[in-house]
């Protein structure tokens, strides 16, 4: 038993020891646990703090970020939007949280955005970036570009965290850029198509001349397809010669200097034929401004070239024809005028013979008729010359009244058979010769009178010569031809000045004529710087009229012949004159005149004979006809002008029947000094002689010397007048002064009378007009202060100021004083002139 107790004892002992051991182990384990727990707690504390800080950091990032950050819950509603998001969209937090995300998307994008994110979600795609527009609270469009983080819960339901950015500006820029590009493309397309439609062939080549793009029209032009051309060298393909290729290379160089140019070229088609083109070449650039090639715009010029050649040819033919026509006209003119010259010339000679009055009248008629004939011949020629601008306007002294009288007599003779009288009505007192173109004026009047004669069967024809204004230098007249003929209707009047048109076709049938008469007349009057006017009434008659301004000469009428005779008689010419002329009658005309003027002369019958005579004799002057047998005037002149000829420097005067300026130029070119148009009158001949033999003129006294010899300068102008002005203007011409005084005295009293009348009627306008009209007259007689007062009055009258009428009464007294002063002055001037004449 004791053994069992022993064992039990030991067992108990062991159990207790094991329990204690276990307890101590547990205690140390508990302590260990406690310590671990402690460190865990502080760890948790630390971690929590870190977490809070980190959260705070992230929160501040989210809240201060410029980017938009928001959350979308599993229902697709906003669960969070950061401040940037609120600011950009304009919504408050209350307004947007819980709202549907889809709602803010712009309508046209709603489906697209949904579709995109469904695809991302269902197919687990990584790329979540998408751009789309939303509508802000303000109603504006805001473009977002966003990345999305998808978060799935245990049930697999997704919510979203989104980082988005406002890309509106970029989108606008992009769309603007797109728009601009679109526009640019459209405009480029537009211009290309315009050019293509304009049949301009476009070709683009690189800097080496290799073709980049040939446009359809160009391909058509050269006969290649686009594929055939691309990559080919343009120069070797299209150009025909080494020179052209070299020129093209040069152009390429200038193209690299950014220059464009237009040039003509010939390019070779595929079939080998050549096309004339005008090319406009210009460089074109890459987006960085580097020149990467050039573009050529080709215009097919073949048709134009051909046309130009045809025009050239046509012009050549036309010019030749015109030349031939001019030559023909000139020759005809010569052929007709030569016999006519003789008639006219001989009639001049006859005028020097002693004739009874009847014979003198016949002679006049003969000479006038010859002139008429000559003018008629000239008619058609003239028109062409006027049209060609070749008619040469003469400025020679002539006797206007004599011209009119001759015309009147010519037509009187014609009208003798008809019951029509002709007369001249004039207020013109002619004292001096006038300067102008007598022939043209004669022709104008001839035409008008011819017309009047043609259409007048009874009644009268009147030539009106009305002096309108006359100074010592100029004369302004109106010439008119009036008839009591059939007259014309207004519609007929419109046509009569047109070439080849008559008032009606019946007139042509009844009266004949070319229809050129009035056209020529109008043109000739135009040449004289005037304009023809017409008044006409059917069945009553017609009046043609025009103004004319003519220069006065100091050659007095009636003294002309004596004047000339005196001059020539006084000449002392030692050397003879040579006349080279083949026509016997012309020979006689010129030599008789020379005889009369006591010149020695030699006569040659052609150019050759004339030239031979110049080798043996020295002449004072040579008259040379143009057209002669054996040797003409040009050749003869050229030979005389050769060195060694004794008449190397002798004046040579061409005698020509031609009125063509070109012929005259020919004469001067061949070495002649001047020319005389045939027929010429004795006066014209004497003038040429005086011009080229100045010594013959030396003894002829002039009027100026007459005046210098007198003592006119001593006249004293009235000191009551503006004598400085008067002396300046009339100091050397008291007669002119007297004219002015007479005019003044004759008009002023009546004009003043008129002013008073209108002044009583208080008609401002009339008074102003009258004052204006006579205002300058006072200055002309040396009373400029009255002119000034009149000017002042005129202004008042124009302004309807009542005061003007009382002022006129005041000034009348002054004018009366002036009139009596001027009357005194007139007496003094007249006395002075008489005294001088006596001396």
């Amino acid at each position: 038993m004791s053994k069992e107790i022993e064992i039990l004892k030991r067992r108990l002992e062991r159990e207790r020891a094991a329990r204690k051991q276990a307890e101590s182990i547990l205690e140390s384990k508990a302590k260990e646990l406690y310590e671990v727990n402690q460190s865990l707690e502080s760890l948790v504390k630390n971690r929590t703090l870190q977490l809070r800080q980190s959260e705070k950091r992230y929160r501040s990032i989210v809240e201060t970020a410029d980017d938009i950050i928001y959350n979308i819950d599993s229902n697709g509603n906003f669960s969070f939007v950061n401040p940037a998001g609120l600011q950009n969209t304009g919504y408050t937090e209350q307004e947007i949280i819980g709202e549907s995300f889809i709602k803010v998307i712009r309508d046209d994008y709603k489906e697209k955005v949904q579709g995109f994110y469904l695809d991302v979600l269902n197919n687990s795609k990584n790329k979540t970036y998408y751009e789309f527009p939303i509508i802000t609270k303000m109603g504006t469009t805001l473009w977002l570009g966003q990345n999305v983080k998808i978060i799935k819960d245990e049930q697999g339901i997704a919510s979203f965290t989104v980082l988005a950015r406002d890309i509106t500006k970029r989108k606008i820029t992009e769309s603007e850029l797109l728009l601009a590009q679109n526009k640019l493309q459209k405009s480029e397309l537009k211009y290309r198509s315009i050019m293509e439609n304009m049949e301009l062939g476009l070709l683009e080549v690189d800097n080496d001349g290799n073709i980049i793009k040939p446009y359809p029209r160009f391909c058509q032009m050269v006969g290649y397809t686009e594929e055939e051309l691309i990559g080919k060298n343009a120069e070797t393909t299209f150009l025909n010669s080494e020179e052209e290729i070299a020129a093209a290379k040069k152009r390429n160089e200038t193209r690299l200097e950014n220059k464009s140019e237009v040039y003509e070229s010939k390019i070779r088609r595929k079939d080998g034929s050549l096309v004339d083109v005008i090319v406009s070449g210009a460089p074109f650039h890459d987006p960085y401004g580097n020149i990467i090639g050039s573009i050529g715009i080709h215009y097919d010029n073949t048709a134009t070239k051909k046309l130009t050649a045809e025009i050239k040819e046509a012009r050549f033919i036309a010019e030749n024809a015109q030349k031939a026509e001019a030559e023909f006209l000139a020759n005809m003119s010569h052929e007709m005028r030569t016999p006519l010259n003789a008639i006219i010339g001989m009639s001049h000679l006859l005028q020097d013979a002693t004739l009874n009055p009847d014979e003198t009248e016949y002679l006049d008629i003969l000479s006038i008729s010859a002139n008429v004939l000559q003018n008629l011949i000239s008619d058609v020629l003239d028109l062409s010359k006027i049209d060609a601008g070749k008619l040469e306007l003469q400025h020679k002294p002539f006797d206007l009244l004599k011209l009119i009288n001759n015309l009147e007599r010519t037509f009187a003779l014609k009208l003798e058979e008809k019951n029509v009288s002709i007369k001249t009505v004039t207020n013109f007192k002619q004292e001096h010769l006038l300067v102008g173109d007598e022939l043209i004026l004669n022709q104008i009047l001839m035409n008008l009178l011819g017309n009047a004669e043609k259409f007048t069967s009874h009644g009268h024809i009147i030539i009106y010569l009305t002096e309108k204004e006359s100074t010592d230098k100029h004369l302004n007249i109106e010439l008119a031809v009036e008839d009591t003929g059939m007259g014309m209707s207004p519609s007929q009047l419109e046509k009569i000045f047109e070439q080849f048109k008559q008032a009606s076709s019946e007139i042509r049938q009844e009266y004949g004529g070319t229809g050129l008469g009035l056209a020529i007349t109008r043109k000739l009057i135009g040449l004289l710087d005037s304009e023809i006017k017409v008044n006409s009434q059917e069945g009553v008659g017609t009046k043609f009229y025009f103004d004319l301004s003519l220069e006065k000469t100091d050659i007095e009428i009636g003294k002309v012949q004596a004047h000339l005779d005196k001059k020539i008689e006084f000449s002392k010419v030692d050397l003879p004159v040579l006349v080279v002329e083949d026509n016997p009658m012309n020979q006689k005309y010129i030599t008789k005149l020379l005889e009369k003027w006591r010149f020695d002369y030699h006569l040659a019958h052609n150019g050759k004979e004339g030239w031979e005579m110049t080798l043996e004799n020295k002449y004072a002057m040579i008259f040379m006809d143009f057209q002669m047998p054996i040797m003409n005037g040009y050749e003869s002149t050229a030979k005389i002008r050769q060195e060694g000829n004794p008449n190397f420097t002798t004046p040579i005067i061409a005698l020509t029947a031609s009125t063509l300026l070109s012929k005259k130029q020919n004469a001067l070119d061949s070495g002649m000094d001047d020319f005389l148009s045939k027929p010429f009158n004795p006066k014209q001949l004497s003038e040429v002689i005086i011009k080229h033999l100045p010594n013959t003129d030396s003894t002829v006294p002039t009027e100026t010397t007459d005046q210098d010899a007198g003592s006119l300068g001593a006249f004293q102008f009235s000191r009551k007048l503006d004598f400085t002005y008067l002396e300046e203007n009339y100091g050397d011409d008291l007669e002119y002064y007297l004219d002015i005084i007479d005019t003044f005295l004759s008009i002023i009293p009546s004009e003043m009378e008129l002013i008073h009348e209108n002044s009583t009627n208080k008609s401002f306008t009339e008074v102003a007009g009258l004052l204006h009209k006579i205002k300058p007259t006072f200055t002309m007689v040396g009373a400029p202060e009255i002119s000034k007062e009149f000017e002042h009055l005129e202004k008042s009258a124009k302004n309807n100021e009542e005061s003007v009428f009382s002022e006129i009464k005041t000034i009348t007294g002054k004018v009366d004083e002036l009139i009596s002063e001027i009357k005194k002055e007139k007496g003094i001037v007249q006395h002075f002139l008489t005294q001088n004449d006596k001396r």
């Binding site: 064992i7 030991r10 067992r11 062991r14 020891a17 094991a18 051991q21 276990a22 182990i25």
Partner: protein, 179 residues
């Protein structure tokens, strides 16, 4: 060595041979522990070896059989106290594979100083698995008993063949073939 092995060993000896045997083994032992063991403690490995040799001397049952029987006994304790480990695996092979990867990892958490054998495994088809035991303590037979009882526990009759890879028994390979 974990205290549980000692307490379970003496539990088994007491139930098979009575406490007298337990007392004898402790009296015979020269160890420091002096027979005082608690399941939560840890004691030198040599002590269990001494106790097993003394038991063999007293009962004349071969040591291998003693260890194999002890393995079987230990298994039922484990299956009761640590049922979670068994539930976690659906079948024997999964369980065997989980010893090294899961159970020993968890044991280390509770007893950081524990020295555990290594069990690597390789399957050969659906029916065969090889376990490679490796431990300085050379207690392959203990493992043998544990494996046999495991197969029974999962009701998967199997043939378990034990082969020494090294003579000292520190490396052993078990080939388990399901019936």
């Amino acid at each position: 060595m974990l205290g549980v092995v000692f307490t379970e060993f003496f539990e088994m000896v007491e139930s098979k041979f009575g406490y007298d045997m337990v007392d004898d083994l402790i009296e015979m032992s020269t160890s420091e522990s002096n027979g005082v063991y608690t399941a939560i403690g840890a004691y030198p490995h040599e002590e269990i070896v001494e106790h097993v040799i003394n038991l063999h001397k007293k009962t004349e049952v071969p040591i291998a059989d003693l260890l194999r029987a002890f393995g079987g006994y230990l298994h039922s304790t484990f299956a009761t106290n640590y049922s979670g480990f068994f539930k976690a695996a659906d079948n024997s092979f999964d369980f065997l594979e989980s010893i090294e990867k899961y159970i020993h990892v968890e044991v280390k958490k509770l007893y950081p100083n524990a020295q555990l054998p290594s069990f690597s495994s390789e399957r050969e088809g659906d029916k065969v698995i090889k376990l490679h035991y490796e431990s300085e303590r050379s207690m392959g037979h203990l493992a043998y008993g544990l494996i046999e009882k495991t197969m029974e526990f999962y009701k998967e009759p199997a043939e378990v063949i034990m082969e020494n890879v090294t003579e000292d028994g520190s490396k052993v390979t078990f080939t388990i073939t399901k019936q």
